[in-house]
């Protein structure tokens, strides 16, 4: 029973990370109908930037928030420079541009930082936290906490601020938004900035666990897809919840089902994607897209 709770909490921690990346994917998808395949690499690159700042001697939380700021600006600039020239092109064209970005980020990271794995510090103590008879990893709890705080801030932003409202409007109905004087292009850029920021948080929370290397986020991206599929690509909250569920399932399956090694764990994610798509394509919380004739 104790192991179960431990594994669930641990699963929630990784699930929070999957959910964050899933949220970033869904945010951009909702606004543009494009899945940003480069989301994982952007997070990885941000984490390397954080590593550079930490190596330069900055204290952890200073480096953390500085990285968030750089990631935000980076995402915004990427959208304006890279995506804007093709924003009216067919969707698949934009997808190829994202793939190009993915490949560039991965390759440059490998070139600048080498492919050797590096350790990345966790801001949380290494001593486990004891609750009754159960020991929880402090990083697990901390990562989960950080993720939830970031998501809560985003929720407040979108729900209660004017800019957040304008961004939601721009994603749902760009034409009407223009008629309200909203600069839809810049809303998109801010969206990319926020997605990059969320990704950076995910990257910095997961790096202490899996170690920092250019291919760190590839596996996580797949789990993020599974999360967004489970939760529904049209539901930001669903994506986060989907992430938590995927994280827990992954951990429990890995612990309790003996023949699932690390290789087949990936197959579990894929199986989840396919099962959801067969039975309920729009996900648990998504809305089925209705096409008007």
């Amino acid at each position: 029973m104790d192991t179960l709770i431990q594994q669930i909490v641990s699963g929630l921690a990784t699930g929070g990370i999957y959910g964050s990346v899933a949220l970033a994917l869904v945010m951009i998808y909702q606004a543009t109908e494009v899945v940003n395949y480069a989301q994982g690499e952007m997070a990885m690159f941000s984490t390397y930037l954080a590593w550079t700042l930490l190596n330069a001697g900055l204290p952890y939380w200073v480096a953390f928030f500085a990285t968030l700021a750089i990631a935000f600006v980076g995402g915004l600039v990427l959208e304006r420079i890279l995506i804007r020239p093709v924003e009216n092109a067919p969707v698949l064209t934009i997808v190829i541009v994202c793939i190009g970005l993915l490949v560039i980020l991965n390759s440059v990271a490998g070139w600048v930082y080498s492919y050797i794995q590096k350790p990345f510090p966790s801001p949380f103590p290494s001593k486990p936290i004891q609750v009754g008879n159960i020991y929880f990893g402090a990083h697990d709890i901390g990562a989960l906490g950080v993720t939830l705080v970031v998501l809560a801030c985003l929720y407040v932003f979108f729900r209660f601020t004017t800019l957040g409202l304008a961004m939601r409007a721009a994603a749902q109905n760009p034409v009407s938004s223009r008629l309200c004087g909203i600069r839809v292009g810049w809303m998109l850029a801010v969206g990319w900035g926020l997605a990059a920021l969320v990704g950076a948080v995910a990257g910095m929370m997961v790096a202490p666990i899996v170690f920092l290397d250019p291919n760190m986020m590839a596996g996580i991206l797949i789990y993020a897809f599974a999360s967004a599929t489970l939760g529904g690509f049209t539901s930001p909250g669903g994506a986060v919840l989907g992430g938590l569920i995927v994280g827990v399932i992954e951990n429990l399956v890995g612990t309790y089902v003996s023949f699932i090694g690390t290789e087949l764990k990936l197959t579990v994610a894929l199986a989840m994607i396919l099962i959801v798509l067969v039975f309920r394509p729009s996900g648990l919380f998504g809305r089925a897209v209705v096409h008007r004739v």
Binding site: T162, L165, A166, R168, A169, Q172, N173, V175, S176, S177, R178, L179, C180, G181, I182, R183, V184
Partner: protein, 237 residues
């Protein structure tokens, strides 16, 4: 009266298809002008051209400033509110959120709540449904919401694209009555595009008739109402 909006030799195309072939018209300051015509005459395109939503050639002047070629967002910020065909409400957002967005372009965002109250006085049904998701409102209510959202901008010029489309006659009459009140009380100039000629001519001061991309007739609304050709073709008697 001076012209608030003055359009000269406006041409517009969708890709290769020429829709406006050089039209000229004016909206007097403080007045209600209507553009009539059958389907495909180019009426909706005219409004979209004024808002910079289509590529145009020709001159568009708003309060002395040339606005052709400008982005929609910046034209809106000059005080032009457009209630598009199909209403354009944000169907996933609440009534309150729709109204807040209407005021987004204003430079004086203070008194947002007062403005919402003001606008709800014209459309009491919206006050009742403040927190309801806009997509669940009826057609008539959504039309009212669309006009209310436009009013939140405190516009100088209100563009209305076929507000009667798809609505019950009683609802339409109510909306038109409110438009007249808004024009008088808030000094909002109105450019109304309508297929329903008798309603439009009953409301407007000045009228233009369009056919396949050109203006074929214009004059005071009262005159056009008496015109035989118009009566037979558009008023049905």
């Amino acid at each position: 009266m001076a012209a608030l909006l003055s359009v000269r030799d406006l041409q517009a195309r969708y890709g290769d298809t020429r829709v406006l072939r050089g039209i000229t018209f004016e909206v007097a300051e403080g007045g209600i002008t209507t553009i009539l015509g059958a389907n495909g005459a180019g009426k909706t395109t005219t409004l979209r051209a004024v808002c910079g939503m289509v590529k145009t050639d020709g001159e568009i002047t708003l309060a002395g400033k040339r606005i052709e070629g400008r982005a929609t967002e910046s034209i809106v910020r000059l005080g032009v509110a457009h209630v598009p065909e199909g209403r354009g409400t944000f169907v996933q957002l609440t009534v309150q959120e729709n109204l807040r967005l209407g005021a987004y372009a204003r430079r004086d965002p203070a008194n947002l709540n007062q403005d919402i109250e003001r606008v709800c006085r014209y459309f009491p049904v919206l006050a009742e449904r403040r927190n309801q998701v806009a997509g669940t409102l009826s057609g008539g209510e959504q039309q009212m919401l669309a006009v209310a959202r436009a009013l939140m901008l405190k516009p100088k010029l209100l563009l209305l694209d076929e507000p009667s489309l798809g609505l019950a006659p009683l609802v339409v009459r109510e909306i038109f009555r409110i438009i007249r009140t808004i024009n008088r009380e808030e000094h909002v100039s109105v450019l109304l595009v309508e297929q329903n000629a008798s309603l439009a001519l009953g409301l407007a001061d000045h009228a233009y008739l369009m056919e396949t991309g050109t203006v074929v007739m214009s004059g005071p609304a009262a005159e056009l109402r008496q015109n035989d050709a118009i009566r037979r073709a558009y008023l049905g008697y």
